[in-house]
């Protein structure tokens, strides 16, 4: 039961960074383990040690835009990036 409890109480997500955020953090992709039930804000705290996401930062989970309060799940791909400038 102890093993099962550990398996369900932590999750692993794949985190990606793009453009100026990738350059600032010096990393493009990393695997992170965090408590089940964590939100995007919680994940960001673990990454950057900061309480708040930088202004205008966009977040996508599994290739769809999500808000900072969105809860991540095991196996999710989470991406942080600055405002988009295509077209």
């Amino acid at each position: 039961m102890n093993d099962a409890q550990i398996q369900t109480s932590t999750i692993t997500v794949q985190v990606k960074f793009f453009a100026s955020m990738r350059e600032r953090l010096g990393v493009d992709e990393q695997t992170m383990t965090l408590p089940a039930g964590s939100s995007i804000t919680d994940l960001w705290k673990l990454i950057a040690g900061e309480a708040k996401l930088p202004a205008n930062t966009l977040v996508a989970v599994n290739l769809e835009y999500e808000d900072a309060g969105h809860v991540v799940h095991n196996g999710d791909e989470v991406a942080f990036f600055p405002p988009v400038t295509g077209g």
């Binding site: 996508a60 988009v84 400038t85 295509g86 077209g87």
Partner: protein, 143 residues
């Protein structure tokens, strides 16, 4: 419906010449509206000599597919096309081509405008500009 992100040079008019609107016979559309975005050699008062366009492989294509489907599901729109460059660009290089086919020009114009506005506001692309003397900066504002 045709959506493509490519690191090869984009020739918008050759692309339009070759494209056959899908499931649409030649006599069924009365109007085609097209918008091409081209790299300029100036921005925010600076001369720009080059650009790198980064994207989010997977999400970018998915997002473009979504807005293409939304535009095409609109009444009277028969087909839409989006092609967007990534990689290294020089001034004058086409960045994006969007097109819409309809029986009527109003619907074609509106679909074309919808695609380019949605793309610019939400599609995960990022421009890094190279200025004279080799300085580089990420574009912050997309107008």
């Amino acid at each position: 419906m045709y959506v493509r992100v490519q690191d090869q040079p984009l020739d918008p008019w050759e692309q339009m010449r070759q494209y056959r609107p899908g499931d649409v016979d030649d006599g069924s559309f009365g109007a085609t509206a097209v918008c091409v975005g081209t790299m300029r050699d100036f921005n925010e008062g600076d001369v720009i000599s080059g650009m790198t366009l980064e994207h989010y492989p997977g999400m970018t294509e998915k997002f473009l597919q979504k807005i293409a489907k939304e535009a095409q599901d609109h009444r009277d729109v028969l087909d839409v096309l989006i092609v967007h460059r990534v990689g290294e660009l020089a001034p004058g290089d086409p960045i994006v081509l969007v097109a819409a086919w309809s029986a009527h020009r109003a619907a074609a114009f509106e679909a074309c405008r919808y695609l380019i506005e949605q793309l610019k506001a939400r599609a995960p692309f990022w421009k890094k500009e190279v200025m004279e003397a080799g300085r580089a900066r990420w574009v912050e504002r997309n107008t």
